[in-house]
């Protein structure tokens, strides 16, 4: 009897212990799941729900208005399409230029000439700085009256080019691209550098045996092997473009007119400044849809390559 009791007692102890063991993992992930997961999913659900209403963004009342917000955004010639186009131009220009310049720098730095680590550290530094502060410096330097850049142009005999870089609708968007390129070229450089380092030395040995010189090796061996790296940069460029807000707010605020309106600046203005929370949420939903399609596309691409 005693033996049975002690045996059963032991079993209970073990099962309660294993019950505790089973709950521990959940306790470990719970704080993150609540603060990060639940918060973000709640925000997404809230955005989707509010996009079908005339919510003002600050009060508790909102009434259902169906797809009105979406039809307003998706009429041809709407500000939304203008902003989408600006995002797209920005995406293409910045990704292409940053990749080209970053690759050029990486190829040179990989030769490990004296001083190359200093150059690498210097070009990467803007990546770690605040976009608004870099944008503020550009906004100051490119100020048409007292900024200094137009003065420099005049000094080197290019005074004819001087004008209001952020104020002219023809150059405003490209100037914003320049600020982004200034900040992010170092990032492309580092990624390509890592990609170059992962190419096995034997490949170069083989090229050498085949009699390929420096330039031939570069164009026929190195560049084709970096295709995966380039794909990564394109994906990150798309994500970055959908996040772009700081530089635009700081330099042009979306103007002149709507010449540099981005999806996020439009969303911010409509929701926070014009108290049209419903419409703003609809923009948010469309941005989310684009973002999700992009990441599904990326997954599809990377699966296909395997």
């Amino acid at each position: 009897m005693k033996a049975i009791q002690s045996k059963s007692g032991k079993t209970t102890a073990r099962s309660s212990r294993s019950w505790r063991y089973r709950i521990i993992p959940y306790l470990y992930v719970l704080p993150l799941v609540i603060i990060s997961g639940a918060f973000i999913y709640y925000c997404m659900g809230f955005t989707i729900a509010m996009s079908f209403t005339d919510w003002d963004g600050i009060s508790m009342d909102a009434s259902f208005i169906g797809l009105k917000n979406y039809t307003k955004l998706l009429t041809p010639g709407s500000i939304f399409f203008q902003a989408l186009l600006n995002n797209l131009i920005f995406l293409v220009v910045t990704v292409v230029v940053q990749a080209a310049l970053g690759l050029l720098l990486a190829v040179i730095l990989k030769e490990r000439m004296p001083g190359s680590n200093l150059f690498k550290a210097f070009f990467f530094m803007p990546v770690t700085m605040a976009a608004v502060i870099i944008a503020a410096v550009f906004r100051g330097v490119l100020d048409p009256n007292l900024g200094g850049f137009n003065q420099v142009l005049a000094d080197i005999g290019l005074g004819g080019l001087a004008h209001s870089w952020f104020g002219d609708p023809k150059t405003a968007l490209l100037t914003i691209c320049v600020v982004n390129i200034f900040q992010w070229t170092g990032f492309s450089m580092i990624i390509y550098y890592a990609g170059l380092m992962s190419i096995p030395q034997e490949v170069y040995e083989a090229a050498k045996i085949d009699g390929a010189g420096f330039w031939k090796t570069l164009f026929y061996v190195t560049l084709p092997m970096l295709r995966g790296t380039t794909n990564v940069l394109i994906v990150l460029g798309i994500v970055g473009s959908l996040k772009t807000f700081d530089i635009v707010m700081q330099t042009t605020g979306g103007g002149p007119g709507r010449a540099t309106e981005f999806l996020n600046t439009y969303l911010y203005k409509v929701g926070i400044q014009q108290y049209e929370g419903g419409l703003s949420s609809a923009i948010g939903v469309l941005v989310l849809i684009i973002a999700i399609l992009m990441s599904l596309g990326q997954m599809w691409l990377s699966n296909r390559e395997k």
């Binding site: 030769e111 976009a131 100051g140 941005v287």
Partner: protein, 266 residues
Amino acid sequence: MKRKLSTTIIMYIVLFIFLILWLIPIAIAFMKSLNINGFGNYLWVITNPDINYGRAVFNSAFISIATAVIVILLTSLAGYAFSKMKFVGSNVLYFMLLACLAVPGAAVMMPEFFTMKTFGLTNTYTGLIIPMVAFNALQMLLLWRNYMDGIPNEIIEAARVDGCSTFRIYWGILMPLSLPMIATTGVLTFVYSWNDYLTPLLMLRDKNLYPITLVATSFMDGRNHTEEMMAEMYAALILMMIPSVIVYLISQKWLQEGMTSGSVKS
């Protein structure tokens, strides 16, 4: 691979052209910051109560350090659980969390602001730290899980045989083994939070709580009227860049590793 002398020279020329292009805006800003009053402009910025430089640096530092510490704790715990423990639904949960990486924070700014306002957390540090933790934690979770996957299971088994509790294993064994990961995720979160502009823009009206990014923008407006104002503005911007440069110089290695590790793998 043979490299001719001419190629080496061309490479240095290209590097120096880049260097000059990248230095132009910084050089103009620095030279102009010394206009009229010389380094007096810097003194003016530091002592100006409207800018409140010291307070802005403190606000940025406090918010960023708090965010980084919380993110390290949350993501190391969760990374440990996802990597080393078997539990029902772990894969689904992990996938659902990582799916949030695709969400651009700006797209959900309306509910973010509204929720914090409802809980009375606008104009508080907490109201800034919660969204910053939420959006930074996912990338760090990815890094932590990969790192924990690389720690051999035998270490944990041995500790369990010796009678260590799960938490003792985490705190006493895994965390001391994870110092490089603590540094990488800590520095990354710190820098991302320091540079965040949208979250404080949404949450703060009280100028006493403004971090550097908000001071930089609110200070810019209407500053382009006289040479002296421009000089002071440049001095302010350079002073605002200095903390970032210091952090970069100290933590360069971890920043480069952290920012590239996620992207090169995929």
